[in-house]
Every structure is written in C-alpha cells, then in structure tokens.
C-alpha cells in the first residue's frame, strides 16, 4: 500500500502531549476536570430590553435592505465581534463573520430534541453551534386542525419577534493539554438590539485523545454529565504537505476542513456545528447509558512524488490531453469519512461511569 502523509500523523509529531489516536479510549471519570455549563433559562424572559443594555461579545445586527426581499423577510444576526456585525449591516460581511479560520466563539439557541416542551422540564442548549445566530420572528402556537379541516398556510400563521435566550461558547486553549469553555447566556431583543446577561460559567477541559484529520478531543465532568468537546486544530504540517498556503490543494483541503461537524445525539436527532469545535453532553448516572456520534471527513495528502503514474486512456491519447489531465506537480487529496463515537454508561458493577471514545472509519477512502 502506498505511503500516505496523514494529517493526523503530522499532528502527532507536533506535540508530545497528544495521546496516540488509537481506535478506542476509556476515560477515568474521576480524573476529569470539573466545571459548570449553563442551562437554558426556565420561564419567560423579559418582554423587551432597552437598547442601552449590552453584554460583551453579543453584537446584534440588522440585515441590509437588499437581503430582506424588500422588507418581506425580517431577521437579525448576532455576532461575537463588533466589526462583523457592522460589516453585515452594511452589506460588506457575510453570515459567518470575517474570520477565515473556523471560529472559536460560537452561538446556539435552545435545543428542540429534549423535554423542553414539558412544562417545568429541563432545557438544554442546542449542539448546533454557529459563528453567528440568525434570529427570525417566532410563529405563534396554533390551535389543532379539525379532522378534515383545511391546512393553515405558513404565511397565515402569525409571527412576531420575541426576546430570545442565546448561548455563547468560547474555546480557550490553555496549552499543556488543558483548555476551557467560557459560556455566556443572554436575553437578546432583536427589535431594540438590547442584550441582558442571564448566566456565565466556565468548564475546564482535559485533552484526552486525538483523532485523525486534526481533531483533538477534550473531556470534563459537570454535575451528572460528561462534557466532550471535539475541536479542529491547526495543522501547519498538513498545510505544508499540501503545497503551502495559497496552493490549490491547500485551498481545497482548507475548504473541506470547514465542513460542518455532524452530530447524532443520544436521542437520535441530528445537529451540525459550523464552529471550530462541537460539544456534546452525555448523562453519567447509575443505570443510564448514552451515546453520541460525530461524523466528519479526514483529508489525507498524497505528495506529488508519491502518486502512481497514471496511464493515458485511448480517448485521452486521441484528444491529446493526456499530460494535462494529471497535474503531477499537485499533491493528491483523499477523503475518508470518520466517526467519533462517545459513550457513557454506568451499570451495577461499575464504581463510576464508564466513558468511552471510539474512532472508526465510516466508509472507504476516496480521491477528492
């Protein structure tokens, strides 16, 4: 088999602190750092928030007129940087902010996959993290449709902007395998652009293992949960082996690396994080087991000098384009789907919750 420069292997050399990316790790629950995460507030929020109230890191922006279909589409965006908010409002910036790197500060809203709709039930923040939050007017609840009755058209359902709770997570790499997630929750009034803080929390993280493709996996414990964070890490060696910044291969590789991280929660619902990291939380209580899966693509680089010489097909020969069809100066990129499976379970004979992380290929290796 051809030798292949795997990004993860290059990554391994980058730091001695990284664990070997073996296909499974079982973590010692008691040795994980502890911390807190915020929870979605229970009960109603304020009806309105004065425009003068602000929270650092929450910048509300209205779209420029050309993005509202002549005012028919109403929405607001929240960014973590003031410049991104200004750029968006003036039509200079996009929905994802200005950074070319994947963001380390991201937002999410209330999860819809837990018992949030049970009166008094718990509430969680969605794992779908975005560099910017898109806020639209909420649909008002509707009475049930009578049997045989006409369905209500979407445009006939009354909608209104409401003060909404928004969650922010900031990943801070502290070095030496340690990191922390800083969380701030706030009520945001899209009408006034006022923001009021609800809660703050910090979760200390320990880097527990790595996955191919430039992923570091961190863990922490918090009350009756295990918090697991999968973060993309910068990989200068991979950039170098793909031809360096500005090369076509590196641009393609970087684009692939910006694809969202797909998350399958224990409940079976799917989320996606467009952020530079994704967080999942799993219950760690006696008699309970939970699993979450994260799927992504691992990009590997085959340097030009290691690529097999391709034979020219008769058609290529006829067309005279044989040589141009294989650019031997460019490294070849391969992509392979990988799943990171995270699990907690606690049965009668376990002294503490069993926390397990498994890596596995979810498909075959293909040329990009």
């Amino acid at each position: 088999m051809k030798r292949r420069t795997l990004i993860s292997l290059a990554l391994l050399g980058a730091t001695a602190l990284l664990a070997t990316p073996s296909s499974a790790e079982t973590l010692k629950f008691a040795s994980l750092p502890t911390g807190q995460v915020t929870q979605h507030p229970v009960g109603e929020g304020p009806k309105t928030i004065p425009a003068t109230e602000k929270v650092p890191g929450f910048f509300v922006a209205k779209p420029p007129p050309e993005q509202t279909m002549n005012g028919r589409m109403q929405f607001s965006m929240i960014f973590s940087k003031e410049k991104d908010a200004k750029d968006f409002s003036t039509g200079k910036g996009g929905f994802m902010g200005s950074s070319e790197e994947q963001a380390d500060v991201c937002f999410s809203e209330r999860a819809t996959d837990v018992d949030i709709d049970e009166p008094g039930g718990p509430a969680e923040w969605s794992p779908s993290l975005e560099p910017g939050v898109h806020m639209s007017p909420h649909f008002m609840p509707m009475p049930p449709r009578a049997k045989g009755g006409k369905p209500v058209r979407m445009q006939d359902i009354p909608r209104k902007f409401e003060v909404t709770a928004v969650h922010q997570e900031r990943f801070v790499d502290l070095g030496s395998g340690k990191a922390q997630l800083e969380m701030v929750d706030a009520w945001v009034d899209p009408t006034t652009r006022g923001v009021r803080q609800i809660a703050k929390a910090t979760l200390g993280l320990q880097r527990v293992t790595d996955a191919p493709g430039g992923f570091a996996i961190y863990a922490a414990r918090e009350r009756t949960h295990v918090q697991l964070v999968v973060r993309r890490v910068k990989d200068p060696d991979a950039t170098s082996s793909s031809g360096g910044s500005g090369s076509v291969a590196e641009m393609r590789r970087a684009r692939m690396m910006r694809m969202p991280l797909m998350i399958e929660a224990s409940s079976g619902t799917h989320d996606a994080s467009s952020c530079g990291f994704a967080r999942v939380q799993l219950h760690a209580e006696q008699g309970v087991g939970e699993m979450a899966k994260l799927e992504t693509s691992v990009v590997s680089v085959v340097p030009a000098e290691e690529q097999p010489e391709k034979k020219e097909s008769p058609l290529q020969a006829l067309l005279g384009g044989g040589d141009s069809m294989q650019d031997l100066s460019q490294p070849e990129l391969h992509v392979r789907p990988m799943s990171i499976n995270m699990s907690t379970s606690w049965t009668s004979r376990d002294k503490e919750p069993v926390v397990s992380i498994t890596l596995g290929w979810a498909g075959r290796d293909k040329k990009m």
């Binding site: 073996s22 049997k147 499976n341 009668s348 004979r349 397990s356 498994t358 596995g360 498909g363 075959r364």
Partner: protein, 691 residues
C-alpha cells in the same frame, strides 16, 4: 426435485454411516486420510467422571461455548472445530496451519466447551446428547469419554463458577444444569422458544440465555431454578419525543395567551391516542439472538447481538413485507446489567438513517449491517466485542465498553462464508474464526492498532487456515443454496438487504406477523415440512417452491436470482431436517398416544384437513372464520402441522399465543374441541408438540 433431494439425503445418510464406521485410522496423515475415531455417542455411554489430569487446557477460559475452541495441548495451540457438514470434531494446529485429526461424531455437532479437567463437551444437536471427548495427543482422534441425554436439540454450553455445566436446548426450550464432574442433571428450567447462547453472570448467580426469536432474553436464577423474560424491543427515541411535544402543546398555547377550548382539548386527546399507536409502532421486535458475550473490563455487562425488525402494521396492507417507509431490519447489540438483568435503554434505541453527507449511493461507501449475527466474544485487551456475521461474512469489532456497541464500530475483517464460531487466543492477541460454509479457519490479529494504520479498505482480509477436503460433503447445489439462503445484503434477494434467513432463522420462522399485500401473515416454519406441502403461502398462491421464491423476492423488491440459484435454494430448504426429528423418533408416551387418538377421531375432525399421510395438510383453502381487518380474503391454506408445537404464535395472523388457547377457541370453526376434557386437550397438545 423431491426425488433428487431424497437421493441426496440418502447419500448424506450413507456417508454418515460410513463415517460412523470409520474406526481409528491411527495415522497422522492429513485429511482426507486424517484419522477418524468411532462415531461418538453411537454406543451406550459409560458413566461420566472427572479426568485425573487435564491434557488440554483452555487458552483463554471464557466459560462459554462455541463451534471453535482453543486449547493448549503438548505445548501446541490447537483449535477444536465442530464441523457439522462432516459430522466430526476436527483438531487443527493453529500455528502449524494444518489439520491433525478428525473425530467422527454420530450426529450433527454444535457448540463445544472445554472443562477445567480437560474434557471437550460437544453438543450433538440432532441426537439430543452432549458427548464428552478426551483429548490426549494432538494427532489422534479424541476418545469418547461418555455422553448424556439432553432436551431436544442442545445448542450451547456454559460453565458456572461452581463448575456446573449449563446446556441450552433450542427446540426443547430448556436450560439444564449438570454436575461438572459426573454431568448428571441437577435441574432443568423451561424457557421460551428457541434458546441459543448462554453466559453466566460475574457472581455466578444468574444465567443469561439468548433467543433466536421472540424479542427477549431469559435470565435464569440458578439457585432458585427460575427463569424470567427480559424484553428486548427496539425503541425509536424520536417517536416518544414527538409524542411528548404533542402532549405539551395545550400548555404551550396557554403560556402564549391563547385560549384552549374544550373542542381543542378533545382533539389534542385524540392526537395523543394516535401518538400512542405511533409509539407502539416505534417499538420493534428483535430476533437473531444467537450469540452472547460477557464484557470483562468494564465487568458485569452481557452483550447480546441481535436485529431489530420493523414488521409493518399488521392492521394495514403493505406493498412488500413490512413498512416500506422505514428500514425493515437494523443491527443492534443489547447491553444488559448482569446484576439487575436490565438492558441499558440506549442499546435498544433503533438507529436513525445515515447522516454523513459524504456517503453516496455507492454501496462500497457503506458498511453492511450485521443482520445475521452468529457468534461473539470480548477481547479484554482491546475491549473489542467481536461479532461474526453470516451473509456479509465479516467479523466486526465494536467497542465493548460503549452504551450501544453497534453505534461504536471500530473495524471489520472479511472471513470465510458462514462464520459460526469464534475463539480468543488472549496470550497471542488473536482470534480464530470457524466458517462452516467455506470450511476455513481465519486468524485475526487483535492488536489495538491506531486507526491511521488501517488499510483504505474498511473490510480487511485476515490470515487463513485452509482445511483439506473431507470425504463427507454436502452436495454442491445444497451448499450453494445454503450460501444464498444466508446472503444478507444481496439486492437480488431483497432491496433492503434482508436474507431468507432473516425471517427463517435456521430455516424455521421468526415468530413475527408481517404486514403483507394480502394482510397479516405469520412467517411459516420451513425446516422439514416444505417438500411435500404444495401449494405454498397462506393464500395458496404458488404451486411450486420456485414460484413462491420468485414471488417472495419480488415482494422484497429484489432483482431476482438465476434459475440455477433458485433450484439451489429449493434444494437447501428441502433438505433441512425437521427440528423436532429426535422427538418424532422417540417412542410415544401414553399421553401423546391418547392425543393422537383424539386428533384422528371423527369427533375432533382435526385429521380431515391436517391429513397425517400428507404431512398434515390437505393443500386446500378453508374459511375458518379467521379473517382479520387487513385480510384480502377469508380463506387460508391448511398449514402443515409438522413442528407446529414449537412454532407459535399460531394462525395466519399470530392471534393465538398458546396452543391451548387455539384448541379451545377454534371449536366449530376448525374441528370440534368443545367436548374434550382438559386431560384430552392436554393430550392433544402433547401430540401436536410431538409431530
């Protein structure tokens, strides 16, 4: 075809006799000249006793049985292989990669277990016996030490910490405990249908028994001799979630200041009821419970590979078999707490559709699911749960520490066709897999290699030990039929990857009532009853088995097989032995004889349609007042009663959970049973269980 099958069977029986009379060959030449001992269990057995000195010691003592067992004998690592085609236990030098000896067995050998004193216990499925063999030197056949009688069809063995040998019997529906030295039976516990693998809990108090059908596991209290059923039904977490959200809707409306009228309350209640039905539909049957394994680290977990089945709504008609809108079968591994016997809920969650955007339609992009799991072990060094899978012929490594191992697949290896058994060689970090259909042993290296070191192809090949051809073989056509019957993932048979064996495990039935184009239909037992009972299907639709197969594959949206392949499947299923052959051969007890009298009596009228000389069917349609809501017609083909006693629930829609319920309820609609005393009803039931 029938005549051909008969000839084939005669040839098979002839070769069994030849094997049985083979005697000691004495030499150590490779097969087909490998030495063969006198067929074990042929003669009256000597009393069983413990061996004074163990010549063979288990390489990695697991206390559970398999069709391949590793032992250390004379410093060699030897694999004892249960070869059911050859009716022999083969001795194979694993490192030397050659067969050393062959010990003939009088019957079909199944699982084996090495006792601490070095005896090799072998289940002989079709003789209802367990034979104790004595390994001595590696290149000679094993000597038969003794044998014991068991309930019908012993399938698996396990060793309790106190030395008790447990034997599960498939058709006999029992778990028996035997003294570890004398093998005398100490107790027997009645179990539900089709028990298979057995494992004993860490504390030795409970035995867990898998069931091939019936959506359950049995947990047997070994001190009290009592069994309880643990339901293993798949649950769709999203269905329950949707229902919770619907239930909360009135509260949400009130919170938003919207008035909820009594009419709205009534409609919400209706919707919740509909939700109940949806929740019920979200609960999946399970089957294919053949294998069990115990997790070592973390300890105290029983891991049960199985398959969740969506049989559709039997109150509705379906286009094929089951619901067209959801995957019919999903692989699963249930995780049970061995102290409480309760499953971890997450392990019973039915998995959702694939989520990754990079997967295309190319089947090579996906891992075929394990729809026919057959054997399992845990490797403590890598925390791998290794499951062998028929059809796709892979060994899959799952994370044994995961709450739902099937959602934590680590890697897979390609092995020979029909991997019936797996054994662990802990010291050498490898597993040995026996594949019956190809008659090969595969050696899998189990080092916990980094994922990056794996080859680009997710299905890696393993090392292989080829065995010499045996004198006794199954017919090539039957062998092909067996392969096709178990071909999971073959879209010529079923678009969704189901195999024939998915609904007919071991050629029997899955105990499931399916939604079909004709209405609700119970899967029919095939083994031992198809060759002489045309026409086929509950509706008498097809005159030949070939026609019936074509209709079935069409309903499964399969592309269809070639003519020779259809013939091969027919050849295979017509040679399947009836599962209760040993019972049918036994002398009739008085109760059974009385039951036969009742069955044949003019008053009861059972035999008018279930004609004994015609395999208990008349091949005719009858209206027995059993039309169900979704049935197209009201007349049904008289099913053969061969083996019916062990194949409940009964009737075309599975409406009767017990035979007694059926016998009492059908009076006037199908024969007459009202006049029968309880004693005669019992006798009739006993007779039905004997045929």
């Amino acid at each position: 075809m029938q005549r051909w099958s008969g000839l084939a069977l005669a040839a098979v029986l002839g070769s069994v006799a030849a094997a049985a009379c083979g005697g000691h060959g004495g030499a150590q030449a490779p097969a087909p000249q490998v030495p063969a001992a006198k067929a074990a269990a042929a003669a009256p057995s000597a009393p069983c006793h413990k061996l004074a000195r163990a010549v063979a010691t288990a390489v990695s003592a697991s206390g559970v049985s398999s069709t391949v067992v590793l032992a250390s004998v004379d410093g060699k690592t030897v694999a004892y292989v249960s070869d059911e085609d050859v009716h022999a236990v083969l001795t194979v030098d694993v490192d030397g990669k050659k067969q050393l000896a062959s010990t003939a067995i009088d019957g079909t050998p199944g699982h084996m277990l090495l006792t601490p004193d070095g005896r090799l216990l072998v289940t002989v499925k079709d003789k209802s016996k367990v034979v104790a063999l004595e390994p001595s030197v590696t290149d000679k056949p094993l000597a038969t030490s003794c044998s014991i009688d068991t309930a019908t069809e012993p399938v698996a063995l396990a060793l309790a910490p106190d030395g008790t040998v447990l034997v599960s019997s498939g058709w006999g529906r029992a778990l028996a405990g035997h003294d570890g030295d004398t093998l005398a039976r100490r107790f027997s516990v009645e179990l539900p249908r089709e028990p298979r693998a057995v494992v004993v809990s860490e504390d030795g108090k409970s035995a867990f028994v898998a069931h091939a059908v019936g959506s359950q596991m049995s947990v047997v209290d070994l001190a009290a001799g009592k069994a309880r059923a643990v339901k293993l039904r798949g649950k769709d977490p999203l269905v329950a979630q949707r229902r919770r959200m619907m239930r909360s809707q009135p509260a949400r409306m009130k919170a938003a200041g919207i008035k909820v009228t009594p009419e709205m309350e009534r409609r919400f209640a209706e919707m919740e009821k509909e939700g109940d039905s949806e929740t019920e539909r979200g609960s999946r049957s399970s089957c294919q419970g053949y294998a069990l394994a115990k997790s070592i680290d973390p300890a105290g977990r029983v891991l049960a590979p199985e398959v969740f089945v969506d049989n559709g709504d039997p109150n509705m008609r379906a286009e094929g078999y089951g619901d067209d809108d959801s995957p019919t079968e999903a692989a699963s591994v249930a995780v049970l707490d061995d102290t409480t016997g309760t499953p971890i809920d997450t392990s019973l969650a039915t998995s959702r559709e694939r989520m990754f955007m990079g997967h295309g339609d190319d089947p090579r992009d996906h891992h075929e699911p394990c729809l026919l799991p057959r054997a399992a072990i845990v490797d403590p060094s890598t925390k791998n749960l290794l499951v062998t899978c028929f059809g796709i012929d892979d060994v899959i490594a799952y994370d044994a520490a995961a709450a739902s191992p099937v959602r934590a697949e680590k890697r897979r290896w390609g092995v020979g066709a029909g991997p019936t058994g797996i054994a662990l060689d802990g010291p050498k970090h490898r597993a040995i897999v026996w594949s019956q259909f190809d008659r090969v042993l595969d050696v899998i290296e189990l080092t916990n290699i980094p994922i990056t070191a794996e080859k680009a192809n997710p299905r890696e090949r393993s090392g292989r030990i080829e065995l010499p051809a045996a004198e006794r073989k199954i017919q090539p056509e039957v062998a092909l039929g067996r392969l096709l019957f178990h071909a999971a993932g073959d879209n010529r048979i079923a678009k969704d990857g189901r195999a024939c064996a998915s609904c007919h495990p071991d050629g029997r039935d899955d105990a499931i009532t399916w939604a079909t184009p004709d209405g609700p239909r119970r899967t029919i037992l095939l083994a031992g009853r198809v060759s002489s009972t045309p026409p086929y299907s509950w509706s008498n639709g097809e005159k030949t088995l070939r026609e019936h197969l074509s209709t079935t594959f069409d309903r499964l949206d399969g592309g269809g097989l070639r003519s020779a392949e259809l013939d091969a499947i027919v050849a295979y299923i017509t040679t399947l032995a009836p599962p209760n052959a040993a019972v049918a051969r036994a002398p009739k007890e008085a109760k059974v004889a009385r039951g036969e009298q009742v069955f044949l009596s003019k008053e009861a009228k059972c035999a008018e349609c279930h004609i004994p000389s015609a395999d208990f069917s008349d091949g005719q349609l009858h209206d027995v007042k059993s039309k169900a809501k979704a049935d197209r017609g009201d007349q049904f083909n008289t099913p053969s009663l061969r083996g019916t006693g062990g194949a409940g629930p009964w009737f075309h829609d599975g409406r009767y959970k017990t035979l007694k319920d059926l016998l009492k309820d059908v009076d006037g609609k199908m024969g007459h049973t009202k006049q029968l005393s309880e004693t005669d009803l019992d006798a009739l039931e006993a007779y039905l269980r004997s045929i």
